[in-house]
């Protein structure tokens, strides 16, 4: 674990416990949310900012109870709007560290409009999107990430909605940090949270999260130990895409199309494989599209990280620029206006 740094006056080392609240956690037993909460609480003490500068914001849904369990400043807002609240908080006070917890319904359905605009503006907010491909809190209706044909309470004959691919949506919206991870791989989840925290700008993390009540096992091929190696390819910057128990398989590009190849039959070697470049947005789109080919493993990790000006910093810069040109605003001069007259 990285060195624990704190700058609060007492210079007390923060621990996991400092981020836990006295509130009973009210998620269903066995829910993937527990792991996400635990991993976030575990890495929080590593970060250099003060605890009082942390703000956790959410909308509505199971995932959105998250702030109640984080012993930071927290705002449990209304359905889908967390990114808008977060933007207001960041503009009002850019030094605050703002985390948003959202779900596939909250973030991509009712709040779809807000998440895309948060991402395009590059406000430094870290978004944890808990994707369980179902509506949990309203008890089992299909969500915008539910699969075609999925039978749910509101789709007894199967869903006819084409689902969103959250990673593709984020890339399309112009996000500067896009990653995918899962509740059942604590180490990977922690690492992605660390990287997201270090990113300057909006960080979008899709987290595969098991809803053991309404959509149990939706991600088991990717998350369970015995199948994960064959079905997941971990993206590592500047490293070839390898997967399989013994890393015996890889991904190569055939034109613009990724394909899975074996390194064991002598046809391909490691040098033929696609090498990940997390700064390449074109590649990020190609990797995001792998989800549409069932013969390919599911990429996990950072799809894209790019550098762009921070929205909240630009707000501050513009104010500073205008002040340096016009000087600090004088209220009486504003009231007086450009043209006035005096009646004796």
């Amino acid at each position: 674990m990285a060195e624990t740094i704190t700058t609060s006056p007492e210079a007390v080392k923060l621990t996991v416990k400092d981020f836990q609240t006295d509130q009973d956690v009210r998620w269903c037993p066995g829910c993937g949310d527990y792991s996400i909460l635990a991993q976030v609480q575990r890495v929080m003490p590593e970060f250099s900012h003060k605890k009082e500068d942390l703000v956790t914001i959410s909308g509505i849904g199971c995932s959105s109870r998250f702030p109640y369990y984080m012993n930071t400043f927290g705002l449990h807002s209304i359905h889908g709007r967390a990114p808008a609240f977060a933007t207001g908080v960041k503009i009002a006070n850019p030094k605050l560290q703002v985390w948003v917890a959202t779900g596939d319904g909250d973030g991509l359905s009712i709040g779809g409009n807000h998440i895309i605009h948060l991402l395009r503006r590059n406000v430094s907010v870290k978004v944890l999107l808990f994707n369980n491909e179902i509506y949990g809190l309203t008890k089992g209706q299909y969500s915008p990430t539910s699969r075609m044909g999925q039978v749910t309470k509101s789709t007894p004959a199967g869903s006819i909605d084409n689902p969103f691919v959250p990673v593709s949506l984020a890339l399309g919206a112009g996000a500067t940090f896009v990653a995918r991870t899962m509740d059942r791989d604590p180490k990977h989840l922690q690492e992605i949270v660390r990287k997201a925290e270090a990113h300057r700008g909006t960080a979008f993390i899709e987290i595969y999260q098991n809803c053991n009540v309404f959509n149990d096992g939706a991600f088991f091929p990717f998350t369970e130990k015995d199948t994960r190696d064959d079905n997941v390819v971990y993206l590592e910057h500047e490293k070839p895409l390898l997967f399989g128990k013994k890393k015996q398989n890889g991904i190569r590009l055939n034109g613009f199309t990724p394909e899975a190849v074996s390194l064991e039959d002598g046809k391909f070697s490691a040098s033929d494989l696609l090498v990940h470049d997390q700064n390449d947005s074109t590649l990020a789109f190609i990797l995001a599209n792998m989800i549409h080919n069932p013969t390919l493993p599911r990429p996990m990790g950072i799809f894209l990280e790019q550098s762009r000006p921070l929205y909240e910093e630009e707000v501050v810069n513009q104010i500073a620029k205008v002040k340096s040109k016009k000087g600090e605003g004088d209220l009486q001069a504003l009231l007086d206006g450009d043209e006035n007259w005096v009646i004796q």
């Binding site: 605890k51 709007r81 808008a84 933007t87 000087g327 209220l331 504003l334 043209e339």
Partner: protein, 614 residues
């Protein structure tokens, strides 16, 4: 030929033309000059929602009415003395507003066969005797403009764009106004960047003025002396500008940054435009992706310790409803400015209305009380916005500030306050973790502490789920919910102890009390003044505070035999007053997208009393 000079107490001029004819600019210029020569005034811009409707059509007509005088001017005028009509469509749609015997300045060049047909005239009204009841002045404004620019090698399009300044110059001559304010305006607008346009506009303005001076058509010019306003420094101000600087003033007095989260909507957008230019006053404007994000970002900014505002109009209010309910639950300061327009739905975007009152007071799910204040005149938008901010901070509550399309775009002279005169707005953020509870309350106001992120030891969670009293923890306890519902209501009621008593203009008891709120102030005051002058025992009370009502309002209502409530809706304040005070008040309404006519209100008062001498 010698021209006679006649002194008038007041005049109403209405400039009307195509949407592209620059009538709003012409009217605004005439207004600014009238203000600077010291007249009292009131304006009514009256334009369509379409940006540039096809030329010559009746639905493309844009108008600007200014009522100015040497006495107290309260309304833009029910009717006008002068109608400047730039084309037949403008004439046919506005002639009904011209007083009998009033002056028509008609641009003869635009009265072509095609334009006459588009306006619906079967014959040219300038050539038959259909306008014989008026003082018709035919001026070839387009040709005279072209003549003034003949050596400048300008396109017909550019020349055409200058003709409104000919009309302006002519009106300046007719009402003995100086040109210098408009000259400064032209130089500032075009001066350096487009010197040729500056030259063209200046020439045309002067040509219009000189035309009045030299032509034999005009034999009389008029003088309107400065108004006897109370001593002080004045400026001319429009409602939206007043709202914007009222918010800035409140933020400065509170020593907080101002945050505006908003989404463009007519007729509120000018508040955003105004505030976005004031960055050196620590103003942050955020044009959000939609109305919902606009209000949510403002709540976020308030949570983080800024004076947070969202501005909108009726349809935007509807979209913000859920978030405003959250602000009620979070008990955070938030100012919501609703510049009301005609509705429902998209309604009449550029026209005025007062029909969002019940939406403001009651329009949220469940019991969600908040404070509602309303502006009475364009300049009063400053005070309303300032007071809304003060109350929001003091009582930790959302406050809705109601203005309307007429106030937003209307203008009047404003006696400028000094910074020192403005009420103090003290802010105290919670600092001490010892015994801190997010939902503990101030004994007097019931306000909860404003505990902003970044304060060590005050980490806490708030949200839309019902709070346990004091701790703010989630609570589904039935008795706690009942208690919290009542506490939230009681807090808003206690605002009544903080606001001034209601005042009355006129006798303290009598036959009729005319009770109003918002932008109808001028029309009602005008009507009441006339009724009083005719000897009637009539008084006017105008509400700044619509929720809660001033604590003496009930007492006032019972002192008059009858209560009349004029509104630009079908009786919304009427419902609130009847429900709360059980008085048999009656309403007067006209929901036309226009200010109420003073004459109509006066008639209603007369009818209630039963004839002039009651």
């Amino acid at each position: 030929m010698a021209k006679s000079l006649q002194t008038l107490d007041e005049v109403t001029i209405r400039f009307v033309g195509d949407s592209g004819d620059g009538m709003q600019l012409t009217g605004t210029q005439f207004t600014n000059t009238a203000a600077l020569v010291g007249n009292d005034l009131s304006t009514l811009p009256d334009f369509p929602a379409e940006i540039r409707a096809p030329a010559g059509t009746t639905y493309g007509v844009s108008g600007f009415q200014i009522h100015f005088g040497s006495q107290d001017i309260l309304t833009p005028g029910d009717t006008c003395d002068v109608l400047v009509a730039m084309n037949p469509a403008a004439l046919i749609t506005n002639i009904k507003l011209l007083k009998s015997g009033g002056i028509i300045i008609a641009n003869t060049d635009a009265f072509t066969e095609k334009n006459l047909r588009m306006a619906g005239y079967s014959a040219n009204p300038l050539e038959d005797d259909s306008l014989s009841g008026y003082n018709l002045q035919k001026v070839g404004i387009t040709k005279l403009t072209a003549n003034a620019l003949v050596d400048m090698n300008l396109s017909t399009k550019v020349i055409d764009k200058c003709k409104n300044f000919f009309a302006l110059g002519l009106m300046y001559w007719m009402y003995n106004r100086p040109l210098d304010q408009s000259i400064r305006f032209i130089e500032a607008k075009f001066g350096k960047r487009e010197p040729q346009l500056a030259e063209a506009n200046l020439r045309v303005l002067k040509a219009g003025y000189n035309y009045g001076d030299t032509t034999e058509i005009f034999t009389t010019r008029y003088e309107v002396k400065p108004a006897k306003l109370p001593p002080g420094k004045y400026r001319n101000i429009m409602g939206n500008t007043a709202t914007a600087i009222g918010l800035v003033a409140a933020a400065k007095k509170a020593e907080l940054p101002l945050f505006l989260g908003t989404y463009p909507i007519t007729p509120a957008s000018d508040i955003l435009h105004e505030l976005s230019r004031l960055k050196n006053y620590d103003v942050k404007t955020f044009q959000a992706e939609d109305e919902i994000a606009a209000v949510c970002s403002a709540i976020g900014a308030s949570y983080a310790g800024n004076l947070a505002v969202t501005t909108t109009s009726g349809p935007g209010m509807a979209l913000k409803t859920e978030a405003i309910g959250l602000a009620v639950m979070l008990e955070l300061p938030l100012v919501i400015v609703d510049v009301q327009r005609g509705g429902p739905s998209t309604g009449l975007p550029t026209k005025t209305e007062q029909a969002d009152l019940l939406q403001a007071v009651h329009g949220r799910n469940s019991e969600a009380p908040l404070c509602v204040v309303a502006a009475a005149t364009p300049a009063d938008c400053f005070d309303a916005a300032y007071e809304a901010s003060r109350l929001a901070i003091k009582f930790m509550t959302p406050v809705i500030c109601l203005t309307d399309g007429y106030l937003a775009n209307g203008a009047e002279p404003w006696k400028i306050p000094t910074v020192e005169e403005l009420k103090e707005i003290p802010v105290s953020f919670a600092k001490d973790p010892e015994g801190f509870h997010p939902y503990s309350r101030d004994e007097k106001t019931l306000a909860r502490p404003w505990a902003i992120p970044g304060t060590p030891g005050l980490e806490h969670r708030i949200g839309g789920i019902e709070k346990e009293n004091i701790t703010g923890n989630i609570s589904y306890d039935p008795d706690n919910h009942d208690l919290m519902v009542r506490l939230r209501a009681e807090k808003i009621e206690r605002i009544a102890a903080d606001i001034p008593l209601q005042t009355v203009h006129g006798p303290e008891e009598g036959d009729v009390l005319v009770l109003g709120w918002g932008g109808t102030f001028g029309s009602i005051r005008s009507a009441v003044n006339r009724a009083q002058a005719s000897g009637l025992a009539v008084a006017h009370a105008h509400l700044r505070y619509v929720n809660p009502f001033p604590r003496n309002l009930g007492e006032i209502l019972y002192k008059y035999k009858k209560v009349l409530i004029p509104e630009i809706n079908t009786g919304q304040l009427l419902k609130l007053i009847r429900a709360k005070y059980l008085v048999p008040a009656v309403g007067y309404d006209a929901v036309k997208g226009l200010p109420l006519r003073a004459e109509d209100i006066e008639q209603r008062i007369q009818d209630m009393i039963g004839g002039k001498n009651g």
